[in-house]
């Protein structure tokens, strides 16, 4: 398999220069590195610019409702534990409309990888504030600047006990592909929040703005993703320096292990025409 095997040929509808292109390339690269075949990969998305990504790849795709990618991915993984399930979602899709699912999907810890295209804006609906928009940022709706405090997805994920918390930058595709591959290899819920410039609606967090700040966390001499205190500090670092890389990592039993799904053939391969309920019916006699 090479990257072309993961291309779909569907016409790409993103703005030229959008940070989403880097994420698309990185994901193909990661799947090649992982040695996956298209038919065994499922990409699930909601609605938004980010959520269009699965159409541009040659993989199984479920492009569902705004905010609801995580429950669909959960159901699909439960039905077929052998699928590699990856969610491509936006900051609005995942942290806003789907915020409740984000919290509980981490608690559930199914073996899925979630790639959030975090452009700190609602791209598809033309530039309203998202849960990660910086306070004060002016939009056509937030005329006096965004009032709400931003959500901190990485700190939230660490606090919820997520076993793989990473930040990537769509301007550093090679590094991002490595994070994605590591996320897929991680057993359990893996979150990769990707700094994704939106060239049309986010005039602050641009490629240039990020390039001045982003550094690879592995280069830090104190780097220790197993240390939660360190991880919180790195997750919160958002100044003239912004770390990218695996920020927190911990082994946790997965949902599939705890529920016994891992010990059976995939649910979708169970024969159903031989199911005999006679024994349970007699329990009501």
């Amino acid at each position: 398999m090479n990257e072309h095997d993961f291309e779909s040929g569907d016409e790409i509808a993103w703005c030229p220069g959008c940070g989403d292109f880097g994420i698309l390339s990185a994901l193909k690269d990661a799947l090649v590195q992982l040695g996956r075949t298209p038919r065994n990969v499922l990409l699930v998305s909601g609605i938004g610019q980010a959520a269009k990504l699965p159409h541009y790849m040659n993989c199984n795709c479920f492009n569902g409702l705004h905010g609801r990618a995580l429950p669909v991915a959960t159901g699909a993984k439960i039905a077929n534990k052998d699928l590699t399930v990856i969610v491509t979602t936006g900051d609005g899709d995942c942290y806003g409309e789907g915020g409740n699912h984000f919290i509980h999907a981490i608690r559930r810890n199914c073996d899925i990888t979630v790639v959030v295209h975090d452009n700190q804006i609602y791209g598809l609906t033309k530039g309203q504030a998202s849960p990660t928009t910086e306070p004060g940022y002016v939009t056509k709706v937030q005329l006096s600047g965004t009032v709400l405090e931003p959500l901190h997805p990485l700190e939230t994920a660490i606090a919820l006990g997520c076993g793989f918390v990473a930040r990537g930058f769509s301007g550093d595709m090679h590094h991002l592909a490595g994070l994605m591959a590591a996320g897929v290899r991680h057993k359990g819920f893996a979150l990769i929040d990707v700094l994704q410039p939106c060239v049309s609606f986010n005039h602050k967090n641009t490629f240039a703005w990020y390039r001045e700040r982003v550094y690879r966390i592995e280069e830090d001499t104190e780097y220790d993703p197993a240390d939660k205190t360190y991880a919180y500090r790195m997750a919160a670092e958002w100044s003239d320096k912004i770390p990218v890389g695996i920020i927190y990592r911990a082994a946790r039993p997965t949902y599939e292990e705890k529920t016994g799904i891992d010990g059976m053939p995939p649910l979708n391969q169970h024969e159903i025409d031989t199911i005999d309920i006679e024994t349970i019916v007699t329990e009501y006699a």
Partner: protein, 572 residues
């Protein structure tokens, strides 16, 4: 021979377990029963009751009057005494009630004292009460002990033994102190079949149909379905997941269904409202979906533990946009079972949302039933079979002209599968093309509605020739309509019960009514608007001349329906 026993007390006193034990004992003695529950939305206190109607002829609905009232607290006597027949009996604990002397009407049993003597815990009071009822009805104590063993068997030997001691004490006390033979049931023959309620019937249907994933958010009165499936999950390799909300539940089910398993969710009106967008998603992505709505009185939180049939309009219109759907409205536990199996078949065959509309009365009422022959119910999978078949290039939404695009499961074929909630091409990619849009709408909606008209679950009806009045109902009113029609003296009253309300069986209803050209047609519904009457008129042009409606949160009783019919129509 017919007796109604009502067990009443406050929440937390174990009324439901007493009721279930007695129901199963009665069934095993060869009697028919119908038991409904009236309970409040609270865990302790208040007043709940479990009413068991017992008869040598089939019982399909509750009766108004009580023959034996078992009052587990003083308040229950005050609340229910009025329903007790002249020759009826009130049983109470002398410690908790002012009624001290045992007479023909009052029987005082030291329930608490007997329980303490048996095991030291008030926990065993329920078993004492079962013993008392066994004594009054002259049931075989050993047979009832077997029921107790079956039900408490798993709770460990010691608890089981103490329950049996308490039961025997209650039975002995009754035989020694209550001498009337007024309620002698005894044994007819061993009763076959089972005792289940509507929720359990749906759960058994789902397990039989091969449901592998059930996800829901707890909501009365639907939670019993989740609990019943959970009970059997390990044995059948089923995953039951309590979702964070109903939106998650329906989307998880859609994800699982897309990935190739049969999956279901269940809720009540409020949760169903939250699922609306998911219903529409299933329709657009052509993902099979089965949803149970166990209705309760609304709007908003309404009466969490009571009954109503006011979600008919909601279910017909749920989800934005136009698409085909099927709505079943089972009237009995047997129908709830077989229509659940059928729901999975139809959802998969036509790749559509299918709803099972139940309600608290059906969900919580127990009856002795014999499940329909499962051999007659199809479990055929409607998917392109497994094992990497070469279907290349695969088009998930192929326009085949038949109204159905063959459905493949991810990783089972060698190509990939795109499912999309946007309007899409045959391949499943986003499009805004006008011609494709038109063809896709026709496929999802009109073509499938036509196909579904050939899969109709027909109405059931009494013989309608020479009837003066025809009652038309759907769902849980089936039994009470049926019994009431046979009990109105001096008038010829018939009924039509609709186990499927969408697509509406217009032809079938018209044909049935041809037998009764002169009859007055009356809709019979647990709602205030007469939603079925409106639907009937819209779909057939047939107008009801009246509607019998009840929306106080309580089910109809046979007596009440007979009285209403006589009062309103005998002078016609």
């Amino acid at each position: 021979m017919e007796i109604t026993v009502r067990i009443a007390g406050e929440a937390g006193q174990g009324i439901q377990s007493i009721g279930r034990i007695i129901c199963r004992a009665i069934k095993r003695h060869g009697w028919n029963l119908f038991a409904d529950q009236d309970y409040m939305s609270r865990i302790r206190g208040g007043n709940n009751s479990f009413r068991i109607r017992i008869s040598d002829t089939p019982c399909l609905a509750p009766r108004e009057k009580t023959d034996i009232l078992i009052a587990l607290n003083r308040e229950s006597v005050a609340i229910h005494e009025g329903t007790v027949r002249k020759k009826g009996l009130i049983v109470a604990d002398e410690a908790t009630d002012d009624v001290t002397a045992t007479t023909l009407r009052y029987f005082n049993v030291p329930i608490g004292a007997l329980a303490k003597a048996s095991g030291g815990k008030s926990l065993y009071e329920n078993s004492v009460v079962c013993g008392v009822i066994t004594g009054l009805l002259h049931l075989d104590p050993d047979a009832v002990v077997n029921v107790l063993k079956d039900m408490f068997g798993k709770k460990g030997e010691e608890t089981g033994d103490k329950n049996i001691t308490a039961f025997r004490e209650g039975n002995r006390y009754t035989r020694d102190n209550y001498f009337s033979d007024a309620f002698h049931l005894g044994r007819r023959q061993y009763g076959d079949g089972i005792v289940i309620n509507g929720n359990e019937a749906v759960a058994l249907g789902a397990v039989h149909a091969g449901c592998k994933f059930y996800s829901a958010y707890p909501m009365s009165p639907s939670t019993g379905i989740m609990a019943s499936i959970a009970r059997f999950a390990k044995r059948f390799g089923i995953v039951v997941e309590q979702a964070e909300d109903e939106i998650a539940a329906i989307n998880m089910v859609i994800g699982a269904s897309y990935a190739g398993v049969r999956a279901m969710t269940g809720t009540s009106g409020g949760g169903f409202a939250l699922m609306g967008e998911g219903v529409s998603l299933a329709a657009m992505t052509e993902t099979p979906l089965v949803v149970v709505d166990v209705q309760r009185p609304a709007p908003a939180t309404g009466f969490p533990t009571r009954t109503e049939q006011a979600d008919l309009d909601l279910l017909i219109h749920a989800g934005h946009g136009e698409f085909a759907r099927v709505i079943y409205a089972p009237g009995t536990a047997e129908e709830a079972f077989s229509l659940t199996v059928k729901a999975f078949d139809i959802a998969e065959k036509y790749q559509i949302p299918v709803f099972i509309m139940s309600d608290q009365h059906l969900a919580d009422s127990y009856r002795n039933v014999t499940l329909p022959d499962v051999g007659a119910l199809s479990r055929q999978r409607h998917v392109i079979p497994t094992n990497g078949q070469s279907v290349h290039p695969y088009k998930r939404y192929a326009l085949t002209g038949s109204g159905i695009s063959p459905r493949a499961v991810p990783s089972w074929i060698d190509d990939v599968i795109y499912a999309d909630s946007d309007e899409h091409t045959e391949e499943g990619h986003i499009t805004e093309d006008a011609r494709i849009r038109t063809l896709m709408v026709q496929k999802r909606f009109t073509m499938r509605m036509n196909l579904l008209s050939k899969e109709m679950t027909p109405p059931s009806a009494s013989s309608l020739s020479r009837t003066e009045i025809v009652l038309v109902g759907f769902g849980s009113t089936c039994g009470v309509m049926q019994e009431a029609c046979g009990s109105v003296s001096g008038m010829n009253v018939g009924y039509i019960h609709l186990p499927q309300v969408w697509p509406f069986p217009a032809e079938e209803v018209r044909t049935l009514l041809e037998d009764a050209p002169e009859a007055k047609i009356v809709s019979f519904e647990n709602n205030a608007a007469g939603q079925l009457a409106r639907l009937l008129r819209r779909e057939t042009g047939i107008a009801c001349c009246d509607s019998i409606l009840k929306y106080d949160g309580r089910p109809f009783t046979v007596d009440e329906v007979v009285a209403t019919v006589k009062e309103r129509y005998s002078s016609l």
